[in-house]
């Protein structure tokens, strides 16, 4: 019971922030001359009530889980990995290549190989900003943004003009991956694939890693107080590289999973901003691995229902970006949310003054 209460309390501000996000977006809909309630109903219908829509919603949830975990693990160590998008691309490229270039392997070998290749691709790409930060102090926000652009350009080159393009295709794309590399479908007549189980398995693994292992302790210590971590003999630079590697591996896994599970080939513009949305996912989840699941599901639902909403109500699908943006603003300003809803600040974190002056000695 206490545990449930604790969780509810943790989730309160994110939940209220999401509600605020919908209210603000509703205003935007109203100003554009449509009915906000109709739009919301259509969004819900599109995400859950249409044929196969639950399956499609879950498919959209999968990359958000992987990428949300990737960003959250960075947050835990005090790193802002904006490069999830780029690492996602590199993971997709590596996974695709292994997926189509190896022939005659049984699925049980081919799938793990392709998944591992995707993880390695993302990992390798994330280690670059990690090393740049650890060695030269280059801020990861700047370097990862730049590397995102490079990742896009590289995949464009590889697929449009370079060695990975499919010469027989009319539109630029890679060849299809081998059947042996395709992730198995979970339910007949729908597209929902094994990736969902992989994503759900990743959650407890990441939680265990952060909360129960020395690696997790190391990264939390660095995230909370680098000076003290250093004084305790923890190598801050090595930890940063390690965290970026783990974060990149998860992002790369998301990319490979998209190819192996959904599209089975890679077009040059592949992601539709998954990597950026996932920053919002991690924020709403407050970097808690368990919290990633509902947050990813929310974003997945919005994404999968948005098309239907646009068809039904003429409200642009881009509206969900408004929701996302407002949610981020509210999550980033918990004080404002507490004030809006007249929530009492819990005295769990005493003001420095009180701690210093009044505490019993």
């Amino acid at each position: 019971m206490r545990l449930v209460l604790h969780w509810l309390r943790q989730a309160l501000v994110p939940l209220l922030s999401v509600i605020c996000g919908f209210i603000v977006a509703g205003f935007a809909v109203f100003l554009s001359g449509a009915n906000p309630v109709d739009a919301l109903v259509a969004l819900f219908q599109g995400a859950f009530l249409e044929r196969n829509s639950v399956s499609e919603t879950l498919i959209a949830t999968i990359p958000y889980i992987f990428l949300g975990l990737a960003v959250a693990i960075g947050f835990k160590a005090g790193l802002f990995n904006i490069g999830a998008e780029g690492q996602f691309y590199l993971g997709a490229i590596a996974g695709t290549y292994v997926g189509y270039s190896l022939h005659g392997l049984p699925a049980i070998v081919h799938i793990p190989l392709a998944v591992a290749a995707g993880m390695l691709g993302g990992l390798g790409y994330a280690v670059i900003p990690g090393v740049l930060k650890a060695r030269f102090g280059a801020h990861e926000v700047i370097t990862t943004i730049m590397l995102n652009h490079i990742a896009l350009a590289v995949s464009d080159y590889l697929i449009n003009r370079g060695p990975m393009g499919d010469p027989h295709a009319s539109a630029p794309k890679t060849p299809f991956i081998q059947h042996s590399a395709e992730l198995p479908i979970l339910i007949p007549n729908a597209r929902l694939h094994l990736g969902l189980l992989l994503a759900l398995a990743a959650v407890p693994i990441v939680w265990f890693l952060i909360e129960r292992t020395t690696v997790g302790f190391r990264l939390r210590a660095v995230g909370l107080n680098q000076t003290a971590a250093r004084a305790a003999g923890i190598s801050v630079g090595w930890t940063i590289v390690l965290v970026m590697a783990m974060s990149g591996a998860l992002a790369g896994l998301a990319g490979a999973d998209e190819v192996l599970g959904v599209s089975h080939f890679m077009p040059p513009t592949f992601s539709v901003g998954y990597g950026f949305d996932s920053i919002a996912v991690a924020l709403v989840a407050r970097s808690n691995p368990w919290g990633i699941v509902p947050a990813a599901f929310l974003f997945g639902s919005m994404r999968s229902g948005a098309g239907f909403m646009q068809l039904q109500t003429q409200v642009s699908a881009d509206l969900i970006s408004v929701v996302q943006a407002t949610v981020i603003i509210f999550v980033a300003a918990p004080v404002m949310v507490r004030w809006l809803f007249r929530l009492r600040e819990r005295p769990a974190i005493p003001t420095p003054l009180a701690a210093q002056e009044g505490a019993a000695v």
């Binding site: 302790f217 003290a228 250093r230 009180a354 701690a355 002056e357 009044g358």
Partner: protein, 498 residues
């Protein structure tokens, strides 16, 4: 008519009553010492008087008039001045500019600094506060900067002056000068409230003493009617041993050796310039010095947190190029800056207690943390070191400063290290905890621990050390032993005068 009369002041923070019905009477021409441990409520009370905090209840009567003081400007207008522990000066500006800041006299929109300079000189002469009005504050010593703060208050017409822990950063000689100034102020009929936790100073300078404990006034007395042991007992609520009880040292092998050490500070200026030190098993080597003479860089270089030239030998092995992690196997380190370097405030007490050993057995097996043994260890240490915490999972930041420091000390001593580097081990810690921490360090010394004690509290160095090294501008001015350990002499060495 008293200068200041406080009646029933109450100030609470959350559930904590920092001031719980405090009465205080201060007369004109009196030095009134406000004595108490950290967290006793002294600073809160004075912040109320100075308008930095508003009381929940109670009355302030100033010079016979009931007054309401909402912000510092109200206090300044009425003639109340305060010198904070941390100076509020702008280093690149001159003394005169700092003094008149916010109260500039202007002529046609231009600052009139000539008049200001004259006024500053006049005040300086009158109270013996000699300082050059044209000097830049960044070039002044801490003692002189403090004078500027006092001048600033006087310039604004202060008749009641509050000094918050004014001696914490001064050399013995600077303290003498400060006391002369305070006497001059008193002779002019001004009232001085002197916040401190140092008993010897109270006995020297105070006319009246008010002792606070846990938000309440527990006694009002005079130096003639009391003694340091009495005052300590009143502050802590139980008898306290003021002197560290320790027998002679029985030094063994050299465990820590530093040779020709050269270290730079953050701005790449030389901070330690060729230091040689040896610490033997079973002895305490104290490093005395005014803060900022290279102590921090010296300690960080030994622990491996700062690049250095020269040799560092730890337990017989050359560790000049070893990582901090390797050095910490035989070496324990109590850092000077507790909140920045000593603990991670947002982690639990248990996690902080295993911080340097989190990845070694019994706290971890391979990569998995052994939470049960961490919790058991934490529970044991919390009991053994009397850390006032509800449970090991509690957030460390919710502990008082003294208890946070106990977490650090306990952690560094609990693993039976060979060498301890203790930098400011009792900074910001109350008398009761100081006694405890000192006793633990001496106990470990008697078991063969080699201790390098670095402290800017000369009393601490003198009472704990078997040998004393004086550091001045990054060099060891002298290493003294036995009879040669003389307070006056060390004070001069600390000031670079011998």
């Amino acid at each position: 008519m008293p200068a200041l009369e406080l009646r029933g002041i109450v100030k609470t923070f959350g559930g904590l009553r920092a001031n719980d019905g405090v009465d205080l009477v201060v007369q004109w021409g009196e030095v009134h010492a406000l004595l108490g441990e950290n967290g006793a409520g002294k600073s809160t009370l004075m912040n109320v008087v100075y308008g930095l905090q508003s009381p929940d209840a109670g009355e302030i009567v100033y010079d016979g008039q009931p007054v309401v003081i909402r912000r510092p400007e109200d206090a300044i207008r009425r003639g109340i001045g305060m010198v904070h522990q941390h100076f509020m000066l702008i280093p690149p500006l001159t003394v005169a500019e700092n003094v008149v800041l916010g109260h500039e006299s202007a002529r046609g929109g231009m600052m009139d600094l000539t008049a200001a300079g004259q006024m500053v000189s006049e005040l300086s002469h009158r109270y013996g506060l000699e300082v050059d009005p044209r000097a830049r504050v960044r070039d002044l010593s801490v003692g002189l900067q403090q004078r500027v703060e006092i001048l600033k208050a006087l310039y604004r017409g202060a008749r009641l002056l509050i000094l918050d822990e004014p001696t914490a950063v001064l050399t013995p000689q600077e303290i003498d000068r400060l006391f002369e100034i305070v006497s001059n102020l008193k002779a002019e009929g001004k009232a001085v409230i002197f916040i401190t936790h140092k008993l010897a100073e109270v006995m020297r300078i105070a006319d009246q003493i008010t002792v606070m404990r846990r938000g309440k006034v527990v006694a009002t007395t005079t130096p003639a009617e009391s003694s340091p042991p009495d005052l300590a007992r009143l502050m802590v609520g139980r008898p306290v041993l003021l002197r560290v009880e320790k027998g002679p040292a029985h030094p063994g092998d050299v465990l820590l050796e530093v040779e020709a050490l050269k270290v730079e500070d953050d701005l790449h200026h030389p901070a330690v310039e060729g230091v040689d030190l040896q610490v033997r098993a079973g002895e305490i080597l104290g490093v005395a010095g005014v803060e900022g003479n290279g102590q921090r860089e010296l300690v960080e270089a030994i622990v491996g947190l700062r690049p250095a030239k020269g040799r560092v030998t730890i337990a017989g092995r050359d560790m000049s190029h070893a990582t901090t992690h390797r050095r910490l196997k035989d070496l324990s380190h109590i850092p000077a800056d507790r909140q920045q370097m000593g603990v991670i405030l947002d982690m639990s007490i248990a996690d902080n207690l295993v911080l340097p050993d989190f990845d070694r057995p019994p706290f971890a097996h391979w990569l998995i943390r052994a939470l049960d043994s961490i919790r058991a260890f934490a529970a044991r240490i919390i009991k053994e070191y009397d850390i006032r915490a509800e449970r090991p999972e509690q957030r460390t930041g919710s502990l008082s400063g003294g208890n946070q420091q106990k977490v650090v000390v306990a952690r560094e001593l609990a693993t039976d290290p060979k060498i301890l580097i203790a930098a400011q081990p009792t900074r910001g810690v109350d008398v009761g905890s100081i006694e405890f921490i000192h006793r633990r360090i001496v106990e470990q010394r008697d078991r063969g621990l080699a201790v390098l004690l670095v402290s800017s509290e000369l009393d601490e160095v003198l009472s704990l050390s078997d040998r004393v090294a004086v550091i001045y501008r990054g060099q060891i001015a002298a290493v003294l032993e036995g009879e040669a350990i003389d307070r006056e002499h060390i004070g001069l060495l600390m000031a670079g005068a011998a």
